[in-house]
């Protein structure tokens, strides 16, 4: 069937289009597969925790810039 979908996320649409091109499918076929996958009954036995729920802690003063300094800390000062 043909339909119009409002408020589609442009990033998701771009990725669906790229996937379709890579796999030689239509965008509709890729979206159908994604919907089918999403609507499939969930199995609870093999459920793993989501990575983004990784424990967050306060590392204390002096650790504010570690995300910017990781290269320097691990590999030495930039020359």
């Amino acid at each position: 069937m043909d339909t119009t979908i409002r408020n589609l996320d442009p990033v998701l649409y771009r990725r669906a289009r790229a996937r379709a091109a890579t796999e030689g499918k239509t965008v509709g076929a890729v979206i159908n597969e994604a919907l089918r996958q999403h609507l499939r009954p969930q199995s609870r036995t093999d459920a793993k925790p989501h990575w983004w729920d990784v424990p967050v802690e306060n590392w204390g003063p002096g650790t504010e810039n570690l995300s910017n300094e990781v290269e320097d800390i691990l590999y030495g000062e930039d020359q």
């Binding site: 998701l12 793993k48 925790p49 424990p55 967050v56 306060n58």
Partner: protein, 137 residues
Amino acid sequence: MIVLDTSFLLGLVNQQDVHHEAARRLQSELRSGRWGQGALLEYVMVELMNMMVKRRGAEHAARTGRYLLGSDLHFVACSPLFGSAFVACCAQSGTRAGLVDMAIATYARAHADGQVATFDRELARLPGIIAVPAEGA
């Protein structure tokens, strides 16, 4: 899919980090499924564990590391990536990306439409890479 960089993961797990709020905002988008599955390269896990052991101790590193490896992340062993990452590292011009960054970029281009969660500006400059969250987001 989105490939996770060490800088992003450090920003996410440390409340004190200057990028923590930006990482948390991206975390919300990840929950919504906007960026697809997360991919963690073996090289990135090595960097993250080394940073955590150095700055927080082995016990904390083990706790966080075990959580990530037991989670729904797609873990990528890096031996198959080594050759192409090494060639890209040697051939780069105008950038100074290390081997780990080149492996991340190689995998992201091939499997994640170039999308990388990172706060590393050098990595973000590599051709074909879309850094998420965008600078200033």
